[in-house]
Symmetry: C2
Subunit: 148 residues, 2 copies
């Protein structure tokens, strides 16, 4: 288990890889983002995107899964109050292979809660061509190691 004091500014953590299929893109978008370029391959082909693209929120979910399995679930994570800057520089398309990484930008002890610290990070997910498809500056609460 990794605690707040184990994290260092400048550290980069590899989060692993995932991929996404056309069926998964369609299923997510039908539930959460039913815009034509996410749920209708023909309409998507005629759109400015030239083909089906994943909902940006699906892209976030794919990144989040990497963050959870590659970092948070081995860390004393206490959740997040929010995100400061979320960008989708390029769309995710069916069959894309995606790789995530996390850069630690800032660490500071909580002034009000001695059991935790506050970590600011920048997450990045890239496709197989190396293009960034998601960047995300996030704040997370991380527990401090209990005293023995």
């Amino acid at each position: 288990m990794r605690y707040f004091d184990d994290l260092s500014v400048g550290e980069t953590i590899a989060l692993g890889r995932t991929s996404v299929s056309e069926d998964e893109i369609l299923a997510f978008a039908r539930d959460f983002d039913p815009q034509p370029f996410h749920i209708d391959p023909e309409a998507a082909a005629a759109s400015i995107y030239g083909g089906l693209i994943a909902s940006g929120w699906h892209t976030c979910g794919l990144y989040m899964r990497l963050l959870a399995t590659g970092f948070l679930n081995d860390t004393a994570s206490l959740g997040s109050p929010g995100i400061d800057e979320l960008r989708w520089p390029r769309p995710v398309r069916p069959g894309d292979e995606l790789t995530g990484r996390l850069e630690i930008l800032e660490v500071r002890a909580s002034a009000s809660r001695p059991d935790r610290g506050i970590v600011k990070s920048r997450g990045v997910m890239t496709n197989a061509a190396g293009d960034e498809v998601l960047t995300c500056v996030a704040t997370n609460f991380v527990g401090r190691e209990p005293e023995a």
Copy 2:
């Protein structure tokens, strides 16, 4: 169909209502955010949240569905490059009834693309108690009405 020039700064658009069940919270989190307080009711009860809470990305998806069905699908939406500020002031819990609204903050023509404008908005989703569970300052591209 609503176009860029139909949107006014200060306008507020009601996006309708939705709700979320425990099964939906668990299913989303198993796919995208497998942290204990999202996928394990017992671990969640013992956590700082005192019970199961939805992934923040699930909360975004629920808001996005309201935004798509209550606004974007009647608007010449061309997608979004990103979000400037995303906050989850309170968690979403099983059975929550959620209401969305959108406030138009800024509208400006695109300098490089005469077919579209750029709209900055603030989305808000509240629970039945009136507490905000999501706020989201977003940028969207919106098409201009084609000349007759």
